[in-house]
Symmetry: D2
Subunit: 332 residues, 4 copies
């Protein structure tokens, strides 16, 4: 089994999905031990740091990769299994970027109001207690929040000759910002170009559903993942599998369309898994769907349809790929 370890130098980050030469060529079955810089490119470090002063908006959300997967062709399905996500620093950062976030006007929800104040919160990580310390900036409240590491951004090169910013979530995955992308997750992405050219980044030490202010507890991350390739079967929208759930992520605007895409994606997946007629799947989702929002802040919003396996007959999605990868991960 191949193993690749890679900690990119600042000059090696990718800022887009597509349009970038691969840093590595790997074979299916490879274990990747990666380091990802945080979405602020590590420039936001103190509560007194103001994003408008320290950030370079042309260099946010750096990606580690892309990786060229040998044998991956358009129409194939890339399977990435997140084995482990470990915070690589002892603190994470979050902030209010002017005209970015769900509860402010933005460049697209263009309004005439003044921007919200720029405030930065630094969360100290306690590795023993496995907590992050929230400290109010305008009061005394301090709260210990559980660490819950996830990756905000996982994607392949887009279809249609496009190159998209690493800030964008869409059918190619990308900046979906869903807490469902956590250790133990297998993500299935449709391959659009030869080699798939996937990259990962945007570690979050934790994030609420919706990512209201636009930035989670952002932190550098040590990432262990396994790469597999399934010939054919490319899903239109990213699919995730946990031990306990099937998940489809849709990304669009308005938010109902993101969610509709995830629902129709799950109707399709249930059809593949059980031969369910679309109307029966529609009915079933009506009664069993979990719909935790992902983000309501990015270029496209991302919404999730999640189905607990406990309600369904046992089956093997993609030939048991998730079980296979879980077993493999346990042996690392």
């Amino acid at each position: 089994m191949d193993e690749v370890e890679f900690r990119p130098e600042p000059g090696q980050y990718a800022w887009t999905f597509g349009g970038v030469a691969p840093t590595h060529r790997i074979r299916p079955g490879t274990v990747l031990r990666l380091w990802t810089e945080d979405a602020f490119s590590g420039r936001l470090r103190r509560p007194t740091d103001r994003p408008s002063e320290v950030l370079d908006m042309a260099e946010v959300n750096p990606q580690t990769g892309p990786f060229f997967v040998e044998g991956a062709e358009p129409g194939d399905t890339l399977a990435l299994h997140l084995v482990d996500l470990t915070p690589a620093r002892d603190w994470g950062a979050s902030t209010t970027i002017p005209f970015f976030g769900a509860l402010t006007g933005t460049d697209r929800t263009a309004l005439l109001q003044e921007p919200l104040p720029e405030l930065t919160w630094i969360y100290q990580l306690d590795r023993v207690r496995n907590t992050l310390l929230f400290e109010a900036r305008r009061g005394d409240l301090r709260l210990e929040l559980p660490v819950a590491p996830m990756l905000g951004t996982v994607g392949v090169a887009p279809a249609g000759r496009e190159v998209r910013s690493s800030l964008v979530p869409d059918k190619f995955g990308g900046n979906m910002d869903t807490p469902e992308m956590r250790p133990g997750t297998t993500v299935y992405l449709g391959v659009n170009v030869e080699g798939a050219l996937f990259s990962v980044g945007d570690g979050h030490y934790r994030q609420g559903e919706g990512e209201s202010c636009g930035t989670a507890v952002e932190g550098a991350m040590d990432v262990t993942l396994v790469v597999e390739l399934i010939k054919g079967g490319a899903p239109e929208w990213p699919r995730l599998e946990h031990d306990d759930d099937y998940v489809v992520v849709g990304s669009s605007r308005p938010l109902e369309d993101a969610w509709r895409a995830s629902q129709v994606g799950m109707v399709g997946w249930l059809g593949e898994l059980y031969g369910l007629d679309p109307l029966d799947a529609y009915q079933l989702l009506t009664q069993i769907s979990l719909s935790p929002l992902a983000n309501v802040v990015d270029v496209n919003y991302s919404a999730v349809t999640k189905v607990p396996k406990q309600f369904l007959p046992a089956t093997d999605a993609y030939g048991g790929m998730h079980r296979h990868l879980r077993a493999l991960a346990r042996d690392l």
Copy 2:
């Protein structure tokens, strides 16, 4: 402690919030033992029943009530505690109503495509196993789903002299269709008119988040609830309290606005509870909010912001009203 038992005759249903004379005058502290008819007014009973043939769209979602709460004045807060929800029939029904639902064009998302086929699913209730039986209409799949009773519709008379259909969710509550409205929930609603004039209905034996096809497992329900009144403090949007969470429900279109309303509502609630500055609350929500969708099918869509109490210092919302009602419920 007053107790009122009421099983409305068909002629006694309310079809609107506001605009209807109260069926009862009650005092705060009253226990209500109610029966609610299902959203189809009991007319959909067999898998061969087609909604376009058996439903009267002028008589859907019948409400039990309204109840005039003595002493309730505009600006007050009505607290309703759901003690128990027990299915009143041994089956529930769901269906695809033409041009209604999340994955079809509607009268508002007006399109030119043909409607989806009308299909009806009848779920048999197994009271011993506490399950509902899903039976595919176009295949053989049969699944046992846990019973998870909830009320789709709980509301008061609206503000601004309006009268709204019982199909509508908005600031007055109404047809929010959130699975968070379940036994053990205390719901806080701002009072808009003298007496509050609340009613309840739309029992669901279970429902997924989003209520994709527009109709849950609809069923008549035996409802036990306790009514309390808090002078002043009317929230703009409905608030729910569980033993474990605070919840705010926003209802609007597009879906991001429903969610924004719930987020800003929670920013306000956290401010009331902890003196948190709005920007600190915004930051905190970004990291701890749960955002399970309610419905993406009604006149307004409903979205939820939910905060686990475990992350917060212990406190007593509304002077400990929820604890008080829980204790009271245990003694019934």
Copy 3:
């Protein structure tokens, strides 16, 4: 031909569509000579008046009416022909109401930013030049704008037992705020309740498409209109007819849904007028539709589909009702 003249006293205004007893019973064919108060109930009179201080938000957008039209039954079509709109004062007013308008967060697009400043603009009317004087509040620019009177609000009692605020546009008409509602317009509204119970108000001395800040040049208006009744034929969405165009107004959120409703409404109307198949009408609209926005600020947004008659074979909508009313108006 009956004529009714009516200038309501302040206590006689209607604040809702539906839920109000008629001020008059009239026969089809009646000419109404009405006075309408401005949307601010006349309380905003000087540039120093601040809406948060002088307005009573429970008393905005007063309506003159409702009128009970004898013989009008659900399913019928009410035809109102606007013969003349003459400003009833020598000035009009516009203002920025906190958290209301298209370029600010609102109670529904709920954000955390500070409100925009409250500013009021008073426009002096020059009846000789037929102009309104725009005077910048924060600079010296002064502009003469042509008077272009219109009615923001024309509607009937809603369906489904509802009572809606006069601020709301929907299928029953109401606060559509479209500049297409001008002298020479015939508006066709579906009747929902016996007597139709229509009212009018919200005179604008002029308004841009979209009504960006939420308030046009609001002014009291002398309104002359003729009332007619067509048995049957109730359109789902309000239809307007000019000498030169057919117009359908849709109202919903998001804005694309308002526009879709107007498009599908026009597909239907072209089908009625020419026997056009829906797909042919869809194609034709693609090439000839005019789509000037109405409002992007109200409870529902309103969008317009407008088809120039010059592109179509001559025909008579509703049996030539518009021509009939135009002729009748000329003789007044």
Copy 4:
């Protein structure tokens, strides 16, 4: 004055904005005489042609260009003046592409309904009468519609290292599909990359506002335009100038956000032109804005804010660039 004539061979089309080597390097002041293929790449020619059979969705909306403008740097403003648009064929085509268009579910407004039927309309051009012949496919109606040539797609390479499909409208211009882009228009686009790298395509012999079914009367076009460069002054959103109007085009979803972007863009432009305070500009737009929709079908929807110059003091946008280009065009 340089003149360049260019009729690309099929292999020379550009399918994206950005990511393509320029076909020509030109100097500011150059006159371009171009030919553009239609959006179907010329593959839809007969009423019996079905898009799902004859179109290659990877090769739609071919662009002529890109052109590298010498001296153009990020932050500059590219001015393109459309001198003449002449249909290059004697027929144009329109069609209903499955799951594309405003009145159907799409890949993003993902629904479960069957697609609309695929129908194709071929419009014969009468150069003498200057008309296009609409012929109903499912009936006998035939209508002569005026030719009104426009370009659906005009754009530069995007910012942020992105490459976007020629189907996309956004800040870089692109597939805005607005009838305002017609002979006599000067369009101002912010330059994002060295050389600007603009291209044009998607000729429409005419189009309604909104482009309901998604395809206008698409036709190959002979395009004459003049290229100029303004140092600095890059607008965030595309600006257009006619002899009679200023226009800003915003592109996003939902539609209200596209329109808000155009409104805020115009607030900014009026500020530049007249020193108007943003609140005064907001007020003025409320009373004078024209808001004809562009498209409600593309990846982003496009909406327009248009201000008639007649209402404003005479001034010279961009130092009188439009007048200069008009004069220059007259001499060609």
